[in-house]
Amino acid sequence: MKQIRFHGRGGQGAVMASELLCHALVHEGNYGQSIPAYGFERRGAPLEAFVKLDSKPIRERTQVYEPDGIIVLDSALIVQLPIFNGVKANGFAILNSRKKMTLDDVPENVETLATIDAVRIALEVFKAPITNTILLGAFAQATKLVSLQSLSECIEINFPKKIVEKNLVAVARGFNEVQVVTRSGQLQKAEG
């Protein structure tokens, strides 16, 4: 089982992203759980959401304490919160960041670091800083734990019609424009 923790702010769509990822995993014939961290969600307040994924049914019904990786929707949270807490060794971090980041900027347990200037892309696509599907595209590219095709198909199935097209562009741009570096050395240029 793989476990992922999303960091975002109320209104940025972290819970929606976790549910979309879960849909995409189930769409591929796998199992997923999407779990919002429970509280009073307020617009702008930091919040977490979790996804568990596995090829067999997931029976554990708890929140995530030691994620295999994190997905961060809001770049300010990278410095404001201890976002790397509990991340397992050989973990991954998918960060929305305007600043170029290197593996020296993140703890040693992060093996795969993916950064993307998601706000810039979001402003071009949505004319608003909505980063959730862009980060999911980046996640798909960096981890291969889900395919871009499943994410796209599930956007078409589950999102309200009027926002489908832009999100299809967003998820593909996230997939194509993310910068992925791994500790084993090589800089992987994103395809396309």
């Binding site: 549910e19 879960c22 849909h23 189930v26 199992y31 997923g32 759980q33 999407s34 779990i35 919002p36 429970y38 009073f40 049914p57 997931i58 029976r59 554990e60 019904r61 708890t62 929140q63 304490y65």
Partner: protein
């Protein structure tokens, strides 16, 4: 094969009501049940449920509206949590005493005070003597399936009692997972149209409902209620059989049993922690502890005979409760099990209280509970109730430093 979807517990419950072809809905939103009301309202607005949705100003009215609906022959559904249940209490009692087969989602939550909106099971266990059948779910699939099953149980002519489908607030209500939505035609073949005739508002055939009833007649009335509750056990088992034949899924009947065939010790729990307990049991069995689980699926009526049959032979029992009883400082399942055994000999039993106020009953805590229960089975002494997060739980002292197997278990639980 039904349709595969990803549903949170609230949406699963709404789907259950839709598939049961409910015709009257009334509910007042309260955390963590609120999305359930939104899903039901959306289904009605989009014409997916052919039902009247009455917008009410309180939970008291919500249930009262449904009572009137049942008098007119309707199949009805609502849901609530915590303080909403408290405000509903007056019609809540009257629903069971009038023998109205209403199905209600009880999205379990802590009760106030202190101020809280988070998960726990205190609201539901508090009303377990109100005459409703209570079925507790472990997964969102079970939530959907159980809502449909609940109508078949409630509307059975020998039962005619209301049913609470209980699912843990947030842990299930807001967690989304893979759920198979059964085909409508198949559900229709399982669940016939409602035929409620014992209380009926019919101007052509006037009937007096709920007249003043004194001593002897009230005694007989109450006795019939209890008899119906006992009979419900048989119906619950029948419904389980029929469901698993038709849909290929078995969530258990009065209880749900996991790896008890050769178990030395047993964990007893209810609700969502049971899923985590399965993982803990598999891992501890790898380390040589023969542990199984009996999940209390139905708290009312209580599975007295089932518990005696399953648990008399084990060497120790560990109960895990996301609630407390004020009788003696134990959790509810501990207390209920003691009552179930009555004067009969029973294995030593210890209780663990956790998961209050929205905290998880974690995998590590359940593994600790298993190790401590095994220690008690071996003749060890341990405190009879452990509060996770409050009491120091030091399992290290339970292990023999010289023993290889002991050391492996010790390393396996963290």
């Amino acid at each position: 094969m039904g349709k595969i979807d990803v549903l949170n517990g609230n949406k699963a419950a709404a789907w259950g009501a839709k598939l049961a072809r409910v015709s009257l809905l009334a509910a007042y939103p309260i955390t963590p049940q609120t999305p359930l009301v939104e899903y039901l309202a959306t289904f009605v607005a989009e014409g997916e449920i052919d039902a009247d949705l009455v917008e009410v100003e309180s939970e008291h009215t919500a249930l009262s509206v449904l009572q009137g609906g049942v008098f007119a022959g309707a199949r009805t559904f609502t849901g609530t949590s915590s303080q909403g249940l408290a405000l509903m209490y007056e019609p809540y009692i009257r629903t069971s005493t009038m023998r109205l087969p209403i199905v209600m989602a009880l999205v379990t939550r802590e009760v106030i005070s202190p101020q809280t909106v988070w998960g726990g099971q205190q609201d539901a266990v508090t009303v377990r003597e109100a005459g409703w059948i209570q079925i507790w779910c472990e997964s969102n699939q079970e939530v959907l399936d159980t809502v449909v099953q609940a109508y078949k149980i409630a509307e059975n002519k020998g039962v005619l009692l209301p049913v609470n489908v209980c699912y843990d607030g947030f842990s299930l209500s807001h967690m989304a997972e893979r759920v198979e939505i059964p085909e409508q035609e198949k559900v229709d073949s399982f669940l016939p149209k409602p035929d409620i005739t014992h209380v009926k508002l019919d101007p052509d055939k006037p009937m007096s409902v709920d007249p003043l009833t004194a001593g002897p007649m009230l005694t007989e009335f109450r006795h019939k209620q209890v008899t119906a509750m006992k009979y419900a056990k048989e119906v619950i088992e029948e419904v389980r059989q029929e469901w698993s034949q038709l849909f290929g899924r078995d969530h258990g009947g009065m209880v749900d049993v996991y790896r008890m065939e050769d178990a030395d010790i047993a964990i007893v729990c209810m609700g969502s922690p049971a899923g985590t307990a399965r993982v803990a049991i598999d891992e501890m069995r790898e380390l040589g502890i023969k542990v199984g689980m009996v999940r209390i699926r139905v708290l009312r009526p209580f599975p007295v005979e089932e518990m005696q049959a399953l648990l008399s032979g084990v060497k120790a029992i560990g109960t895990i409760d996301r609630n407390v009883s004020f009788a003696a400082g134990y959790g509810t399942s501990y207390l209920e099990l003691r009552t179930a055994f009555g004067g009969k000999r029973m294995p030593p039993m210890i209780d663990f209280i956790g998961g209050l106020g929205g905290s998880d009953v974690t995998l590590e805590q359940i593994k600790q509970a298993i190790v401590i229960t095994q220690y008690v089975a071996n003749g060890g002494e341990y405190r009879d109730v452990t509060w996770f997060g409050l009491d120091e739980v030091d399992v290290d002292q339970l292990f023999d430093l010289e023993d290889q197997a002991d050391q492996e278990v010790k390393e396996g639980i963290v």
